[in-house]
């Protein structure tokens, strides 16, 4: 091999390595990574949850993850698992953890969806677009979360918690949401969950 070919091969290899390593190292070099890797036991590596009832954290907006951690830790959102872990996150530094997940590439839930349920959900979603928007992306300025690509089981469970007033009980700002949820039959909640899970 001539020196110039060697140099070319060497440079090409370096670029390839940097390209590959860059993806892998985006996690471990992030200051939030060591504080967040415990989460992967349930939420998947870098927050890419594959489970039906566990939300995707990859690419989640940091304002919403921070709010969720605060609400779980205070017991406003009921979850024995998340209440304890949120207290840990607050001790470790919620800004680092939320920042880490916000910097990860968004990975929509891989849970398989029933296309008929998605279509029924689409038809029923007119009642949701007022707040969550036509694309389900929410509105951070109003504290309304992005629903797209979350696992259907997780979305349905949240609707049922609102319906039963077990999530954020007594929160005046959620009064109209809960009134709406009470009017939605459980079957339709499944359809809506499938539809919003399907959105990208």
């Amino acid at each position: 091999m001539t020196n110039s070919i060697r140099l070319f091969v060497g440079c090409a290899s370096l670029i390839l390595v940097l390209a590959l390593y860059g993806g892998a190292a985006a996690g471990p070099l992030d200051p939030g990574y060591p504080k967040a890797f415990s989460c992967s036991a349930c939420h998947g590596f870098a927050g890419a949850s594959g489970a039906d009832t566990v939300p995707v954290l990859a690419g989640m907006q940091s304002w919403y993850l921070k709010k969720a951690i605060q609400d779980y830790a205070s017991g406003k959102r009921p979850s024995p698992e998340m209440e304890s872990y949120s207290k840990m996150v607050l001790e470790l530094g919620v800004d680092d953890v939320a920042g880490y997940f916000a910097r990860q590439k968004r990975q929509p839930s891989p849970v398989r969806l029933d296309s008929a349920a998605v279509e029924r959900g689409r038809a029923a979603s007119t009642q949701c677009v007022v707040c969550h928007g036509a694309q389900g992306k929410g509105d951070p300025a109003k504290g309304i979360p992005d629903l797209t690509g979350q696992p259907p089981g997780y979305l349905k469970n949240q609707m049922l918690l609102f319906k039963a007033d077990r999530r954020s009980p007594g929160d005046e700002t959620l009064k109209s949401l809960k009134a709406l949820m009470k009017a939605i039959p459980d079957d339709q909640a499944s359809d809506l969950a499938a539809y919003y899970s399907s959105l990208r």
């Binding site: 036991a41 949850s49 594959g50 304890s84």
Partner: protein, 419 residues
Amino acid sequence: MTTLSRRQFLRTSGTGVGLGLLAAGGLTGCATTPGPKTGRRVVVIGGGWGGATAAKYVRLADPSIEVVLLEPNKEFVSCPFSNLVLSGVKSLESMTFGYDGLRRHGVKVLHQAATAIEPDKKRVRVGDDAIEYDRLIVSPGIDFQWERVEGLAAAKDTVLHAWKAGPQTVALARQLQSMADGGVFVMSIPLMAYRCPPGPYERACQVAWYLKTNKPRAKLIVLDANKNIVSKTGLFQAAFKNYPNLEYRPASRVEKIDTSAREVTTEIGDRVKYDVINLIPPQRAGAIAVQADLVGADKRWCEVNHVTYESVKQKGIHVIGDATIGLPVPKSGTMANSMGKISASAVVHLLGGKEPPQMPPVNVCYSWVSNREAIAVINAYRIAQGKVVMIEQKLTSQNVAVAQNSEGWARSIWNDILG
């Protein structure tokens, strides 16, 4: 610039996941040992919940580090959920996985057993071969102390423990299924400490549920060496009330087994006849930890630094998982997974000459108390003055939603370990 062979290139260039696949398939698939050390190398002994996680997370944190995993079994069989195989609610296949996911991360998985550790030479013996390391992570799991129950050592091939998921799990399920209606299934629980504190009580619920559903005249007798249920006590007491066919006897350590008489004898002299016996023997750290003198004065468990998981007895060797003692944590799968990540991070920092971050572990243990309902215990921790301290423990009530959460957890954590 010198010419690098592909092998050297892969070893030294910080290769990511994509090239790791080539390394696994092309270079190490047939190797019996990884050859002489050319760069920094971490060896991991044991490919269970702790070791497999540690191997993967070292590679994720720094792909320039060569990672060799020694695990004799070609398949990973999950102990968590395996009690559900006894009741027929799940199949063993649904919790059995290969190690190709780790190979895709560039972990050199060798299906061989470590036979000895030589800390002074920083190498692990595998038969006649030796594998050098810069840092060693030992995740040896548990072994059984057969000699602590009279008559057990001679009968250990026929008296099933099913406490390491695999062929014994399937064999015990068959024995349960073949037992006559009206038969007596006896299970024994060793004194703490042992692998998976709530596991025996979950198993009792699964066996009792199976019998109640399929053999209504049969009975389960649980002989517990402990003075009371040692984990999720109130929740299991409530769950046991659903099973009139379950007789729970605390402070009933089994001292002797007579397989010809099909009878066990407890410490208080009770003789209990059985049709099927499931004797879970007393335990200690896996044999390699004992042999390498990683265990404490009790000759059973390994004390470690709470931040790095480095052995207090041997420098450069980290011990994780069920084999550890001295932390306020259960011997659980989630905990082993957590220790795997933290020890991997510590090892990568130490190899780079950096101070390891002080990361506390986490724990969640789900137990199924029927064919569709589960309970859970959740533990949160902090590090204070270099020690792991529990912030709080939460228990859930018994319901279907907890069982659903446990299935989500299993899917995620199996992928976290091996995917």
